[in-house]
């Protein structure tokens, strides 16, 4: 993994642990880190996406099973939820917003200002997702009470970041 990929993984891990601790009062275990380069496998469940833009651009994503989405919603809102509904999708979107928002904040110290879009959530079976172009994702897989929750981020320099003089004072990163 490159220096940037390691940094992104650390940011994802720290932000996810903090959001779960603060908003769900839940402990989430250490993550397994991988880099996804090919076409991702088909999904079943809930996937949320949020765009990142600035001198670097890309996206963040959170994916989990319907049962995990319901559990997260129940613990966030302190309600009993057993099936995926608008409230669950809204809670997953907000979780994604806070986790990737935290990653964005940490990465801004190294990459300069980044913007965050409004999240989009998909719920279904046997669907595939793909970013435009050949994108590498830093994938962090967490175990939460026996279920898996996957948070991933892809980032690539946009045109202005290809020229180092546009990033004064920022750490040089291998990409």
């Amino acid at each position: 993994m490159t220096e940037l990929e390691n940094l992104i993984a650390e940011c994802i891990s720290a932000s996810t642990v903090q959001v779960f601790s603060t908003m769900l009062e839940a402990q989430i275990g250490p993550c397994r880190v991988a880099v996804e380069t090919g076409s991702p496998e088909a999904n079943d469940g809930v996937v949320s996406f949020i765009g990142l833009a600035g001198s670097w651009a890309g996206a963040g994503s959170l994916a989990c099973s319907p049962a995990t989405a319901c559990r997260a919603c129940s613990q966030m809102l302190m309600t009993e939820t057993t099936s995926v509904n608008d409230e669950v999708l809204d809670a997953v979107a907000e979780l994604t917003n806070m986790i990737i928002g935290g990653v964005k904040t940490d990465l801004e110290n190294h990459l300069g200002p980044l913007g965050l879009s409004i999240p989009t959530v998909v719920y279904g079976r046997n669907f595939k997702t793909k970013g435009a172009g050949s994108t590498e994702w830093v994938v962090c897989s967490f175990d939460w009470e026996g279920e898996q929750l996957v948070v991933k981020v892809c980032l690539a320099p946009s045109e202005e970041a290809r020229f180092p003089h546009h990033l004064p004072g920022h750490v040089a990163l291998e990409v």
């Binding site: 603060t22 966030m76 809102l77 608008d86 907000e94 917003n97 935290g102 801004e108 200002p113 409004i118």
Partner: protein, 128 residues
């Protein structure tokens, strides 16, 4: 005397969490009104007593900065404390909010203690 608060966020989940967290703080809070964006918030301000506005920054249609500008530009509402809620760690939007007259800001994720610490002074100041 109880304070009435207007919570503005496009996420129903966050509005629900804020309702709970505000009640948990033990502050003397009366009605908690909700709005999904700046446009709905302005409509609520026209018809309800509001002592403090707690608003997200990033929202579709009319965001928190537009709402803040509308409040500070109104003779009727300009005295109302407006506390921004944001996932934006970057200083740009926070600086924009301060320049427009935000009373303070809370960063997501937040705890009940953080909300209480941020709001107590403002609520004490607006109550007789």
């Amino acid at each position: 005397m109880e304070s009435d608060i207007l919570v503005v966020d496009d996420s129903a989940a966050i509005r629900k969490i804020l309702q709970r967290v505000l009640r948990q703080t033990g502050m003397s809070i009366g009605a908690i009104h909700e709005a999904g964006d700046g446009v709905e918030a302005v409509e609520t301000l026209k018809t309800r007593k509001v002592d403090l506005v707690l608003t997200d920054i990033n929202m579709p249609r009319s965001d928190g900065l537009q709402l803040l500008a509308a409040i500070r530009g109104s003779a009727e509402w300009k005295h109302i404390p407006v506390v921004m809620i944001t996932t934006e760690g970057g200083e740009t939007k926070v600086a924009d909010a301060v320049r427009l007259g935000a009373s303070g800001y809370v960063r997501k994720p937040f705890t009940a203690d953080q909300i209480k610490e941020k709001l107590t002074g403002f609520l004490e100041a607006v109550l007789p």
